[in-house]
């Protein structure tokens, strides 16, 4: 069985659902063809090192790079008691990047996604943030029925540092700092949410895999552009 993620040497082919990815060697060139539905991308390349790495990346490139934030909308609210720390599992959308092994981390050969594309506004139109939107269920144990070419598993630790119970309906991250790990059949990352005050929560990522033997993915945006201010934490001031 051919797994999508990992480093491949041409020729290789991957067909799953509406995705058909084919890389063939012809004379000295590498011919790359990717089809999703009725859209086809074809590229020819010349490179000494013909190996390619296919891996999940931050869901910020498609359909257009307009935001650095990701909002996960929980299907049901999570109620967490004062001073409590709770680990839950949710999902997040992924985009898939194809890199030439010898190429730069911020210049993938191709990026595509099978995840639904949607944006939303967090906060008001004056001071709010446009976010990539993803609706997710939350579970207390690691989900096993996740399609790794569509979505990943997020292990989210919620810490309520206030003196009263809190209801969490959504969580917003600065996705420039996403630390995505993957193996052949799983994509995951660890995140944390600190509820600090009445109207203030902070979110961030942990640079650790959710499971053993997972490979750290290349971070396109950290390499590409890291804004001076803001760091990789997101401060939620417009409700949780």
């Amino acid at each position: 069985m051919t797994y999508l993620y990992g480093t491949h040497t041409p020729p290789f082919e991957f067909v799953e659902r509406e995705l058909n990815l084919k890389v063939l060697e012809e004379n000295e060139s590498i011919n790359y063809t990717r089809e999703i539905g009725d859209k086809t991308v074809e590229k020819s390349m010349f490179s000494e090192d013909k190996r390619m790495t296919i891996q999940p990346v931050e869901p910020l490139n498609l359909p257009k790079e307009i935001t650095s934030s990701l909002l996960l909308d929980f299907e049901n609210p999570i109620i967490i008691d004062s001073g409590m720390k709770k680990k839950i599992y949710a999902t997040f959308p992924i985009e898939i990047a194809v890199f030439l092994e010898s190429g730069s981390a911020d210049k993938p050969l191709d990026i595509f996604t099978l995840a639904k594309q949607k944006y939303t506004l967090y906060g008001d139109v004056k001071t709010g943030t446009i976010c990539k939107y993803w609706a997710t269920q939350q579970r207390t144990d690691m989900p096993q029925d996740i399609d790794p070419i569509v979505e990943g598993v997020m292990e989210l630790t919620i810490i309520n540092r206030t003196n009263e119970w809190k209801e969490v309906t959504k969580v917003v991250f600065d996705a420039f700092g996403m630390k995505i790990y993957y193996d052949e059949d799983k994509v995951g990352m660890k995140g944390a949410m600190f509820i600090k005050d009445e109207d203030l929560s902070e979110t961030g990522f942990s640079n650790k895999p959710i499971d053993e033997n997972m490979t750290k993915g290349r971070e396109i945006f950290r390499k590409k552009k890291r804004p001076i201010k803001g760091g990789s934490k997101f401060v939620m001031e417009s409700g949780i």
Binding site: P63, K64, Y119, T120, V125, G128, I130, K224, P227, I228
Partner: protein, 274 residues
């Protein structure tokens, strides 16, 4: 020697040459440093701030050059101040509008009602609309959507109405869609909502609204309201209406022509019946 020849006071030809070299070096250093700053900060700082920073660095370098050169050329700064004061009064009277534009430019820099690359309309409903290219100290330059270069004096910008279409990050647009009375309005609204949900740039929140606005003369009139990121507002607005029309027609719901029922007092007869 030629280099020791005195030009005026104690200033020799060599002093003059050294001064020119220093000024030239100051210009080159200023340009090099501001270029370096532009390169290193281009992805991290907004374009207009980057412009301001690089200009400040450039003029700072020039100023340092002048401050080094002035004593060599035996110019006294106090003399400059007196001369500058008198000159200032003369220039002030002679060029009132330039000064007004300059002050307006300073206020615009502080107030920042728009930034470089913002889409704005300057001056009322029929004002100039386009993309801000540069905010200079005397004037603001824009590129209209027809690709025309427009220079607007800062006084007019500052005292006139400014509409900035990208100041808020999200913006709403709306359509009126009429359907026939015999069509199911609930189904039509559901189809439109599903279509909006499929559009990535149609924001999930604020939620789109689709409702019956009016029972019109020829049609049941539906109102469709959609929010989009301000930068993506126009492309989405352009493509969504036609998609709605096609989606409704594919499901047997039609946009009606204007209709009018006419009742005649006497039954009409054809030519043959007469």
């Amino acid at each position: 020697m030629m280099l020791d020849r005195i030009l005026y006071g104690g200033v020799t030809v060599s002093d003059f040459i050294v001064s020119v070299i220093i000024l030239f070096a100051a210009v080159m250093i200023g340009k090099a440093v501001s270029l370096r700053i532009r390169h290193s900060l281009k992805d991290k700082v907004s374009k207009d701030r980057l412009n301001t920073i690089s200009k400040i660095v450039y003029f700072l370098s020039l100023m340092i050059g002048f401050l080094i050169v002035l004593p060599i050329l035996e110019f006294r700064i106090s003399g400059f101040l007196v001369a500058g004061g008198i000159l200032g009064i003369i220039i002030g009277f002679a060029s009132q509008s330039i000064v007004t534009n300059l002050i307006s430019g300073v206020f615009l820099t502080f107030e920042r009602p728009f930034r470089v690359d913002d889409v704005v309309r300057l001056g009322g409903e029929n004002g100039t609309m386009g993309v801000v290219e540069e905010i200079k100290i005397i004037s603001t330059t824009m590129r209209t959507f027809e690709g025309v270069y427009v220079r607007v004096p800062n006084e007019k910008v500052f005292t006139g109405n400014i509409t900035n279409f990208l100041e808020n990050i999200a913006r709403r647009f709306e359509y009126d869609v009429g359907i026939r009375y015999k069509d199911d309005a609930d189904e039509a609204m559901e189809l439109i909502k599903e279509l909006i949900e499929e559009q990535p740039m149609a924001l999930k929140n604020p939620e789109p609204q689709v409702f019956v606005e009016q029972l019109g003369g020829s049609a049941v009139e539906l109102k469709v309201r959609v929010w989009a990121p301000s930068t993506e507002w126009f492309p989405l607005r352009m493509e969504l209406l036609w998609k709605i029309k096609k989606e409704l027609e594919e499901n047997g719901i039609q946009v009606p022509f204007n209709q009018q029922e006419v009742w005649f007092k006497n039954a009409l007869q054809t030519e043959e019946e007469r």
